[in-house]
């Protein structure tokens, strides 16, 4: 299998990288959700604190995933 042009290579690399990053974000935020929901089940009174922490941590994890998406976009451009 011979990849013919640089443009195709970089487009493919960018797209695959962005897809992997989205996968990573999905797994990460899923783990956060799992931990948060389990904590709420254990202690329903702490709902508001847990919700605030969950949203904060999700934004941080998404930040890391978006780094990778930006790099993927740069590879295409």
């Amino acid at each position: 299998m011979v990849l013919l042009s640089d443009v195709a290579n970089s487009n493919a690399g960018g797209a695959i990288g962005a897809g992997l990053a989205a996968m990573g974000a999905g797994i990460g935020v899923g783990q956060i959700g799992k931990g948060a929901v389990e904590a709420i089940a254990r202690q329903p009174e702490a709902l508001n604190d847990i919700r605030a922490n969950m949203i904060l941590t999700a934004a941080l994890v998404e930040g890391a995933a978006l780094f990778a998406i930006i790099v993927g976009l740069l590879a295409v451009l």
């Binding site: 299998m1 487009n11 930040g63 978006l66 930006i70």
Partner: protein
């Protein structure tokens, strides 16, 4: 357990099935920059970058006439150029007629002229030439590289940012004056005060006080400014037809640098001591940890910058892509286009609500992380004192 065996068997069968039905295929490189797109067909990339990047006019929509020509509808903005050779040039961007005419020795690049430049042998990527940029041209309407000029125009990002700023300042000064006069101090606040007081107390009680301890009053004006400025620019950017201010790396870069300066200005010797000499670590760990800690001082504001920029620009691109789906399908056949419209609009509305949430969230995250980093920078040996002050 046989269920374990069944599970492994199922996984094996599916994996082999997927491998057998896979075909090699190549990413579309096409011929040249565009990937071989047809001339009159819908160019999604042009639409996306036209919306997400900066421009010299507010472009709302195009009116397509029966003979196929398009009249763009929008608001032109002033173009301000300074060149040491040619001096100041100030004129409205409508003089460029969307790149069809040159004016005062300058030209606005559009797809047609970019093709001409490519035919002349210019490497568009290396020279940084893209649609919407202004270039200097000589008498023969060719790119004149010897003229150096600075583009300090009022582009749409600048105009929108100034308008958002004016709106924010007006609202905040209005409610500050009302508080001074005594409304909403002893009794319940009303109107605009009522709208903003919970948000301001939220920033004070959830962002400033927990992270900054006893010094929260010093930093609260900066945190409030940061939060409301990012929030209002995020929200205004979501309105169709407006510019994408927070999704601009230059904008977020400046915000990040200012936060970085605030963090450095409030850092104490204790903080730098912890970076260059982390306590409680054996010597060999310190060799690895000290460079990592030093780099993290710079990486943390970089992460703030990229997080805000990437979230905003990704949201805008998703919304534009979903709407462009309708046009892409229409290019195949009218029926498919009409069928895909309800689906695309439903998805777009769903993503719009998520983007409104992301607008608030990213403003909160930026302000909160700045507060966290500032709190980390000035915390000292007096941990217990600060906690007792709560």
């Amino acid at each position: 357990m046989t269920s374990g065996l069944m599970k492994s068997f199922t996984v094996a069968v599916f994996s082999i099935f997927l491998l057998l039905i896979s075909m090699p295929s190549f990413a579309n490189g096409g011929d040249g920059e565009n990937g071989g797109k047809k001339k009159k067909a819908f160019d999604a990339q042009e639409i996306i970058f036209g919306h997400v990047l900066d421009g010299h006019e507010f472009h709302f929509f195009d009116i397509t006439h029966d003979d196929g020509t398009k009249t763009p509808v929008g608001i032109p903005l002033p173009v301000i150029l300074y060149s040491p050779q040619r001096g100041f040039d100030v004129f409205m961007s409508s003089k460029f007629h969307h790149g069809e005419h040159e004016y005062a020795g300058y030209r606005l690049l559009n797809a047609e002229y970019l093709e001409k430049l490519k035919d002349q042998g210019h490497d568009l990527k290396k020279e940084g030439l893209s649609a919407g940029k202004i270039i200097a041209v000589d008498g023969n309407d060719n790119l004149d590289k010897s003229v150096k000029f600075y583009d300090v125009s009022l582009t749409r990002n600048v105009v929108q940012m100034i308008l958002a700023l004016a709106f924010l300042v007006w609202i905040m000064i209005t409610i500050a004056k009302r508080y001074e006069k005594g409304f909403g101090v002893k009794s319940a606040p009303t109107g605009m005060q009522n709208l903003l007081e919970p948000v301001i107390t939220f920033v004070r009680d959830e962002v400033a006080k927990p992270n900054l301890g006893a010094k929260w009053e010093k930093y609260l004006p900066y945190l409030l400014t940061l939060f409301f400025f990012i929030l209002i620019n995020n929200i205004v950017g979501l309105i169709p037809g407006t510019a994408n201010v927070t999704g601009n790396i230059a904008f977020t870069f400046v915000l990040g640098i200012i936060s970085f300066i605030v963090i450095l200005a409030s850092s104490k010797k204790h903080y730098w001591g912890h970076i260059f000499n982390p306590p409680g670590m054996p010597l060999w760990v310190k060799f690895i940890l000290v460079p990592v800690e030093f780099v993290s001082v710079f990486v943390k504001p970089m992460a703030l910058i990229i997080r805000l920029f990437a979230n905003m620009v990704a949201g805008h691109i998703i919304i534009i892509c979903l709407i462009s789906l309708i046009f892409i399908f229409s290019a195949m056949s009218k029926g498919v286009g009409i069928a895909s419209s309800p689906l695309a609009v439903v998805f777009t509305i769903f993503i719009y609500f998520i983007e409104i949430l992301v607008a608030f969230l990213q403003a909160y995250i930026f302000a909160m992380l700045t507060a966290v980093f500032v709190g980390q920078a000035f915390e000292g040996e007096h941990h217990d004192e600060a906690h007792a002050a709560h």
